[in-house]
Amino acid sequence: MAMNYILFAFFSVMAIGCSILMVTRRNIVHSAVFLIGALLATAGIFLQLQAEFLFVVQIILYVGGIMVLFVFVIMLVNLDVSMRLVQFNRQKWAAGVLALVLGAQVLFALWIGRGELRLPAPAVDVSPKNTEAIGQALFQHYMLPFEIASVLLLVAMIGAVVMAKRRV
């Protein structure tokens, strides 16, 4: 299905482009905007894979929640100071070598799997709906790990509140 490939190409190019722009922008607010763009593109790929619940959660949590707080904090920072700071540290060569190695690994993986570089055909009928499927998995099959993770998050949250309180 050509449409499938076009959508995938669109979202992946958008994700990669936004990520590059995010790292290279000098203005931190612009960086935040491009990070939002990258997150939205990832959400688009989830949708293209017909994981509509993940798509929505990605937008609600990361774009609508976490990034709003990011931007909120950024706006409290004095931008003029950060504009004059050196943006990248000086280990360009080490970083370049590392990037080459990682890139070679990705290319190698692609080379090995070259016979199967196809997008999965879109399912005609998505049933059971994947919201229900995720609910079943979380609350029946993986109940205990889910609860433990929840408690862990709760502890982290309380810890953060306590630490913030002490400083006042």
Binding site: V33, I60, V68, F72
Partner: protein, 441 residues
């Protein structure tokens, strides 16, 4: 029509038509809600409101729109030009995008998504970036403060409003808006009667999310000039305005769908027929309403002071008459068309009622202080929403697993939550600091 359009495009035709209709009609609707707001405000303050442009100010929104389009567009010298340009667009686009899953009627919905409700919530919460980036890009302290307040407010109240919605979702058992309405039909009860506290929490949360009085701190004119919109003028400013009113219609639509029965008419199962016909009594109401309005317009028309106003008033009456005719014609149309027309009518009536509640609240309550706003959100609404959620879930288990009578369990859950609400309120009264030295920001 089927033979004119190739079958490969056919499934996309209707959604595209709906989309175009929504985008075309929405600005007009927003303009008339502004007029409604001014008229209701005038009524509550014992004034007349706009009276000059058209009879009873009926053409005022069009005059306002023309004025806004012709105004000079100013971009501040030190603004971040690109962001300043993009921000209002983000607000409007996200507000319009949210309509793609809104069920205006059993047939009039662009896409019935599995996760329709979450989709609307997600997309409409992205509109905040328009406000935040616009406030930041203006490079003005008032704008920035307004934007920061807006972000803090949205993040706080979204949690409470979302938890309020979940209590209704527990009853519906689906995230698809169509299924939620169907569930209310099957259970024979609007969810506002099952979970009134969830509805109340969503009402308060939605007022705060749309930055309306008494929670309009992001644009509090006595403190921040116009908040995030301070530096905007002309068309860009009106885009923000359009986004705000579009968001109001969205939250009203969500509340209508989840709590007020969506496109269902009141008493959807009461199917007595008018004697001698196949017309259901309840279905005759929309036509009669429009007929009444048309008669009122014709009665008012000769009383207008100027000739042109008489003509406009008579035209409005004629339009209402035509709508009444359309409603009557729909009675004898095929089942699908009939349900679509009446569904749309009832949906819009409920949305308007919800918006009227917004206006009523706006002109009744004084504005909150920022620390009061935060305390109300975090110390009252969120705990209450959590307790309500647990109570409703317990009631569901009691009725489904233990075989208790569903309505009784719901009433018990509501009473329990109300008791907790009273306790929370009395606790806050006791501990409220007498004077606050500085605001929350």
């Amino acid at each position: 029509m089927g033979h004119l359009i190739p079958p490969s495009i056919l499934p996309y035709v209707l959604p595209v038509v709906y989309g175009v209709v929504i985008v075309a009609v929405l600005p007009l609707m927003a303009g008339y809600i502004v007029l409604l707001e001014r008229k209701v405000m005038a009524d509550m303050q014992a004034r007349l409101g706009p009276m000059r442009v058209g009879p009873h100010g009926l053409l005022q929104p069009i005059a306002d729109a023309v004025k806004l389009l012709l105004k000079e567009d100013i971009i501040p010298e030190k603004a971040d030009k690109l962001m300043f340009w993009v921000a209002p667009l983000v607000s409007v686009t996200m507000a319009l995008l949210a309509y793609s899953a809104m069920p205006f009627g059993p047939a009039f919905q662009i896409a019935d998504l599995n996760v329709g409700l979450l989709f609307i919530l997600a997309v409409s919460s992205l509109g905040i970036y328009g406000i935040v980036l616009g406030g930041w890009a203006s490079n003005s302290h008032y704008s920035l403060l307004g934007a920061l307040r807006s972000a803090a407010q949205l993040v706080s109240y979204e949690t409470a409003a979302g938890l309020g919605l979940v209590s209704a979702l527990l009853l519906a058992g689906s995230l698809s808006l169509k299924d939620i309405v169907q569930a209310q039909y099957d259970q024979g009860e609007w969810f506002v009667f099952s979970v009134p506290i969830g509805f109340f929490i969503y009402l308060v949360g939605s007022i705060a999310e749309t930055n309306r009085a008494p929670f309009d701190l992001p644009e509090a004119e006595s403190e921040l000039v116009a908040g995030y919109m301070t530096e905007y003028s002309g068309f860009r400013w009106s885009l923000y305005f359009l986004a705000e009113y579009a968001n109001m219609i969205i939250v009203a639509g969500i509340a209508t769908t989840l709590f007020l029965g969506g496109w269902l008419r009141p008493f959807p199962r009461f199917a007595d027929h008018l004697p001698g016909t196949s017309v259901e009594i309840m279905d005759a109401i929309p036509g009669l309403v429009f007929l009444g309005v048309a008669a009122y317009c014709f009665w008012l028309a000769p009383k207008q002071p100027v000739k042109i106003q008489k003509i406009v008033m008579a035209t409005v009456g004629g339009l209402c008459l035509a709508l009444a005719g359309a409603m009557a014609a729909a009675l004898f149309a095929p089942e699908g068309v009939r349900q679509g027309v009446y569904g749309g009518f009832w949906f819009l009536v409920k949305v308007m009622a919800y918006l009227y509640a917004f206006l009523w609240i706006r002109f009744t309550f004084p504005r909150y202080r920022f620390d009061q706003l935060m305390r109300l959100g975090w110390r009252f609404l969120i705990p209450l929403a959590l307790v309500n959620l647990i109570a409703v879930a317990t009631a569901r288990v009691a009725s489904e697993e233990w075989g208790w009578y569903p309505r009784i369990t719901m009433i018990l859950a509501t009473i329990f939550t109300l008791a907790v609400a009273l306790w929370l309120a009395s606790r806050d009264q006791k501990h409220e600091p007498a004077t606050e030295t500085a605001g929350g920001d």
